[in-house]
């Protein structure tokens, strides 16, 4: 390093080269990113994911279980056939079970016969996440409360913490109770807790959740909660309910009565 002098011409050349390199980096990154990488990878593109259930459009009182069947089929949810050990991602309950705090003779009268579709509320303030000792469950930036079955040790604190009963425990190996195993999604194993994942594996492929796709009545709407989206229009334009909102969990499944 005897001569650190640099003449004007080479300085300009080097500067220009550096600028080109700086500009090329993002462009190269764009090209080299495979198209399979979806918008859902990494930070959310805006807002958070919510589900809107239109109770009037839902025909579950007439025995329709299209959404439940679709959900449980694509996620290999077993049918144990024993209420104490049931595994449920999406199911229906009576109005007073879904909204115990809204149970009022007159307000709720037209809704009394309604079956209410219930699932994990993917809370903004999820109590299950707080209590999990292994961080097997956590909240993603897009609001999905995820489960990492690899980390779950089956302590069931999350089940105790969840005020919605959205989580189920595998008391036994679920595989013998799955009618047809869909190889595209793993099953679970004995000793882990499972629940609805807002179909994150389908979202990553650009698909809608299985329940939304399966509903032929348009009772389910799903999307990012930000101005302009369909879910935003629905819940900002009319009265809606959330389950046990007063507990401070900030649930993100909205019900239009």
């Amino acid at each position: 390093m005897s001569n650190m002098n640099i003449d004007r011409r080479s300085f300009l050349k080097l500067t220009a080269l550096g600028l080109v390199a700086l500009a090329a980096k993002p462009a190269l990154d764009l090209i080299s990113k495979p198209s399979a990488a979806s918008a859902l990878n990494g930070p959310a593109p805006g807002g958070r994911l919510v589900m809107v259930v239109n109770l009037n459009a839902c025909t579950s009182p007439d025995g329709c279980i299209d959404c439940i069947a679709a959900c449980h089929r694509v996620h290999n949810v077993p049918d144990i056939g024993n209420r104490k050990e049931d595994i449920r991602w999406l199911w229906d309950v009576s109005y007073d079970q879904a909204f115990p705090d809204q149970e009022d003779r007159f307000v709720a009268e037209p809704l009394h016969d309604r079956r209410v579709l219930v699932l994990c509320n993917h809370c903004d303030n999820p109590p299950c996440v707080k209590v999990c000792p292994t961080q097997a469950t956590w909240r993603r930036d897009d609001g999905i409360v995820m489960m990492d079955y690899h980390r779950c040790i089956g302590c069931r604190y999350c089940m105790a913490a969840c005020p919605y009963g959205s989580r189920s425990f595998n008391w036994r190996d679920p595989r013998p109770y799955i009618k047809t195993v869909d190889n595209s999604y793993p099953t679970r194993t004995k000793g882990v807790v499972e629940k609805c994942n807002f179909c994150q594996e389908r979202l990553a492929e650009g698909l809608q959740p299985a329940c939304v796709e399966a509903c032929s009545n348009g009772a389910l709407t799903f999307g990012y909660l930000k101005p302009g989206t369909e879910v935003y229009k629905l819940i900002s334009s009319q009265f809606n309910l959330r389950r046990k909102d007063e507990l401070g969990t900030r649930p993100q499944v909205y019900y239009l009565p």
Binding site: P34, H150, N183, S184, P186
Partner: protein, 133 residues
């Protein structure tokens, strides 16, 4: 030294018994047994080099698991810049179609019992694996 014969004899018997597994295996011709996992005929290059996969496939799979589940990013870019969908059933088993003839050979030999398959599906042979996880 008292009882020299007994001590040396006892030691000899002990050594014979202690080394029994070694010379028994050598004598029965099983000492040079190799598990010989069956490699896919259709492909000649795995995600990374064969040597790397042999030594570090477990770390790589844990990296895949964390990247895919925790970070929600299911695209793996190999050291030679090829991209793969992070998917045990769909990507690994697409080439290594027989778990019995590939995974199990070495795992049984080394007495390893990974619990991947408690949840991840092993599609029946002949049925091409598909899907996302």
């Amino acid at each position: 030294m008292y009882d020299k014969g007994k001590i040396i004899g006892g030691l000899a018997i002990f050594l014979c018994l202690a080394s029994f597994p070694v010379w028994y295996m050598a004598a029965s011709g099983k000492a040079d047994y190799r598990p010989n996992p069956v490699l896919p005929a259709s492909e000649n290059q795995c995600v990374e080099s064969a040597q790397y996969m042999r030594e570090y496939h477990m770390q790589l799979m844990q990296q895949w698991r964390d990247q895919s589940v925790r970070q929600g990013d299911s695209v793996y870019i190999s050291s030679d810049n090829r991209t793969f969908d992070i998917n045990l059933t769909g990507t690994c088993l697409k080439c290594h179609s027989s778990k019995t003839d590939f995974c199990d050979r070495c795992h049984n030999y080394t007495g390893t019992a990974p619990n991947c398959w408690d949840c991840h599906n092993v599609p029946p042979l002949n049925a091409p694996p598909q899907g996302t996880q």
